[in-house]
Symmetry: C2
Subunit: 357 residues, 2 copies
């Protein structure tokens, strides 16, 4: 067990925002929520699954919706606690620990704030070690765990509980309800035991976020060797550097969807197209697929090395695009069915970025 | 208490289909479901609320979706029992009696079949004494009762439970989930006590259906005085007779919507336009509003006097259009807010058809 204080939030937020691949919500608001929770309830207990009883009851929480909406309809906080309590009541069990479902600005920090408020530990693990737009896109699904019973809540007191025959159907149902509730809601899902966390989750993803964030901060401070350290940790590489010459964005079917086109600094005839569904999903350079899910596309401001979330993309931004291999926990049979390019409707083959971590 | 046998089904189904104002689902399939239930489980116990304990737990059930879908995706039956059981589990109480939420081919007969299967009585009452397309459009809403907790189920084993801040929000949430589950699902809603039924429901609506059905059958047999008896009972009148010269139909936003245009037999320059949202809602003759909700628009085949449901409307049909005043239980303050023309988005005033019953 370690205690997370406000001092730890900078690196964690920075790393989570980067690994959120453009999604996962606004990091600034998320950090404020976590800071407030620490001030109100004291430091947050971060635990490894090995420190908990195998039979302990865990639930993941996340904000669900479209980032384009979430920056305008800011979480109030109460809906997350409500979602956890509704799920606990539905399954008839007390919740022993909270876990993030994904890594991202809001979706890493809000579970911490909720854990603080509920007086529960937060497990250092998740189901993606990045952000994905859909509920079923987790290593939990890959391991055969059910996302349901799930509980969706809004800030007004509305609650919906789902019990579904598959996580894919669960995604459709949750999305339908979230669309009706304003597309920025709290979801408590994947109730599981600690034994199941050990088997199916990506353990240590929060620590990984903090390390990535620390290296990225060193890059931002122009420390010598910082890029080298960052790439040693992530096995990533720079896949494009250029300016945004087109952004097409629409909030539709419950997601923020769009396309962004970049033109290379060094050669205006070189262009990269990146497809967006809440997250940056697919990078294509002049017709050649360069990065595909579940590998990560991360976009940084070219000058400040600040991660850019998809809802803030704008014409003229000068950016660096990174490609990072996905967490090794993804590499199980069935990975591409759950999170490969065709799971998103892109008719292209997976390009393996490799990577050891 | 009276026992409903297969002999009673003809009049009941005919009356329910007429009062369903074109909605409420396919009566033929509904009758088969009820017949089968009586054969399997014996006659169905129909009770008046006065025969039950005031504290007894009642729940309404209905098929929810679009009639255009429901005639192709036929209810299996199991989803209704599942919805009732899920709701019972959610509220932590046994269900003592079933009640229809509305009058209509399927939505009168399916509750009977489910009551038979569950060995429960079915209360002779409902919340509309007609069919309306939306969950909140009930005398229960008018009386301040909550539709939630509600439980939606499909035939595959998916379940959604809703707890909402208003019945209007409940409608949007249920609709969103039903759209994702195929738009022909089972809804258990409006859990209430018998004391609340007495206060808020339209008691005797099933008997009224049977009486209306009996008179309509007499009309179909060309019995002398049959029309007179029918109008004495319903306070209705013939508002148009003509042939269908246009049908525009689309299944969108979770409903079967459309417009049907009629041309008078006796004067081709007279036309009537009827607006549809699952049910026949608004009748306008040459720009003059003739029938508005909550009053009933019922359409009969001109030759056979068989009620026509909206999903079977077709070019060239020769029809008789009736206008019937709504049940007197609707006439409370707030009626037009819940079921008046503007509640459906039609910017016209309510035309009071009057009526004593």
């Amino acid at each position: 067990m370690r205690l997370l204080t406000t001092d730890d939030l900078e690196d964690l937020t920075l790393g989570a925002t980067l690994l959120g691949t453009g999604g996962g919500g606004d990091p600034f608001i998320a950090k404020l929520l976590a800071q407030q929770a620490i001030e109100d309830y004291g430091p947050i207990r971060i635990v490894d699954p090995a420190e908990l009883d195998d039979a302990a009851q865990v639930v993941t929480i996340a904000v669900i919706g479209a980032p384009t909406v979430i920056i305008e309809k800011i979480p109030s906080g109460s809906e997350f606690v409500a979602a956890v309590k509704a799920l606990a009541s539905y399954i008839g069990r007390d919740i022993d620990a909270i876990m993030p479902v994904e890594v991202g600005g809001m979706n890493t920090l809000i579970p911490l704030a909720v854990a603080a408020e509920l007086g529960l530990p937060c497990i250092d693990a998740d189901g993606m070690r990045r952000a994905f737009p859909q509920v079923e896109m987790t290593t939990f699904t890959l391991a055969g765990l059910s996302a349901s019973p799930m509980s969706l809540a809004d800030e007004k007191g509305n609650r919906v509980a789902f019990e579904t025959t598959s996580n894919q159907v669960g995604e459709r149902l949750v999305r339908g309800s979230a669309m009706m509730l304003g597309l920025a809601n709290a979801l408590a899902a994947y109730p599981m035991t600690v034994a199941q966390v050990k088997e199916a989750a990506i353990v240590g993803s929060m620590r990984f976020c903090s390390e990535v964030g620390g290296h990225l901060r060193a890059i931002q401070r122009n420390e010598p060797g910082a890029w080298h350290d960052f790439f040693s940790l992530t096995d990533g590489s720079i896949v494009f550097q250029g300016k945004i010459i087109d952004v097409d964005r629409r909030t539709t079917t419950g997601f923020a969807r769009g396309t962004v086109v970049l033109e290379a600094f060094d050669d205006p005839s070189r262009t990269m197209r990146i497809e967006i569904q809440n997250e940056l999903l697919l990078a294509i350079e002049d017709g050649r697929t360069v990065v595909t899910p579940p590998d990560l596309i991360c976009m940084l401001d070219h000058e400040t090395a600040e991660p850019i979330t998809t809802e803030t993309l704008a014409y003229g931004q000068r950016v660096t695009v990174l490609g990072l291999p996905c967490a090794p926990e993804w590499r199980r049979p069935g990975m591409l069915d759950v999170v490969g390019p065709r799971a998103f409707g892109y008719d292209v083959d997976y390009v393996n970025l490799g990577g050891a971590r």
